[in-house]
Symmetry: C2
Subunit: 141 residues, 2 copies
Amino acid sequence: LDDMNILDSSIMNFIISVEKVAHVQPNNNIEHALLILIKSGYTAIPVLDTSFRLHGLISKAQILDSILGIEKIEPERLQKTLVSDVMTSDIARVKDTERFEKVLSFSINHPFICVESNEGSFLGIITRSKLLAYLNGFLHG
Amino acid sequence: LDDMNILDSSIMNFIISVEKVAHVQPNNNIEHALLILIKSGYTAIPVLDTSFRLHGLISKAQILDSILGIEKIEPERLQKTLVSDVMTSDIARVKDTERFEKVLSFSINHPFICVESNEGSFLGIITRSKLLAYLNGFLHG
Ligand SMILES: Nc1ncnc2c1ncn2[C@@H]1O[C@@H]2COP(=O)(O)O[C@H]3[C@@H](O)[C@H](n4cnc5c(N)ncnc54)O[C@@H]3COP(=O)(O)O[C@H]2[C@H]1O
Ligand SMILES: Nc1ncnc2c1ncn2[C@@H]1O[C@@H]2COP(=O)(O)O[C@H]3[C@@H](O)[C@H](n4cnc5c(N)ncnc54)O[C@@H]3COP(=O)(O)O[C@H]2[C@H]1O
């Protein structure tokens, strides 16, 4: 059980690949994004353009905040506002050549980490659930 | 670095104590719950009664699902529906005498675990973030 190896190991086995990742596009409206979020059941998902480049992530919280007026919910804002108006672009992202150590440290403050190829193509996400399942197995070595 | 010890260690140091945990009561309406969830910024929070007994947890997703009619959002349901109508009572919960091993295995599928005293009084929660921060430190031994 060599602790140094685990920190230094590749992240390829942890990636949930792009075709399994729920996502929306920057120019979708937030009504579409809210439907995708509710249907997928996720709190937040990546924002990818049609070339599968990563633009940010969008969460239910951001959408709810943007339709909450002073005294009531304003559903009409759902169609007028775009994902790109509401999303956060400050996200946890790594290249696929990155090591486990970096992804583990990102996971302390981020429920998932986005993985890109060296050319900037979105490859998938690494979730806390997968990291914890792996660490659980590792400690029962 | 003895892996057996970590699995066997106490969970007391990981608990975010009750006064720091955002929560709602079973007989609150879901409009109040949604405001607490939006203000606190959390995806889901525990449901505690006035004697601090744990009844379940409630999430933004559950509230959104309950106000989504067939074609539109129905804000009027926000005031008529109670937390107890919408919450889930099937949650990850342990006694404070439980060990790290159990909490780690729960964390694979649960973003947080509720901790209760032997008498059934809610003591706080253990989050994935705290477990990952600890494991990160442990592996850098
Ligand atoms: N449909 C489902 N089936 C089974 N368990 C489910 C589930 N939806 C959520 N969970 C559980 O709840 C945790 C938190 O999900 P959340 O949506 O807040 O936060 C998620 C979500 O924002 C994102 N995510 C996970 N899988 C995704 C996917 N396939 N596409 C897009 N985003 C995803 O990564 C975050 C962390 O995910 P993680 O798996 O660590 O942790 C998940 C998982 O343990
Ligand atoms: N105000 C804030 N400041 C800094 N970071 C924040 C934050 N709100 C959320 N985060 C980050 O986002 C993660 C997911 O939060 P979420 O609300 O989906 O899921 C949370 C939430 O449902 C619950 N939770 C955490 N702290 C809570 C508290 N004080 N009261 C009630 N519920 C809490 O436990 C879940 C896992 O929390 P965890 O800390 O592992 O993971 C958090 C944390 O890394």
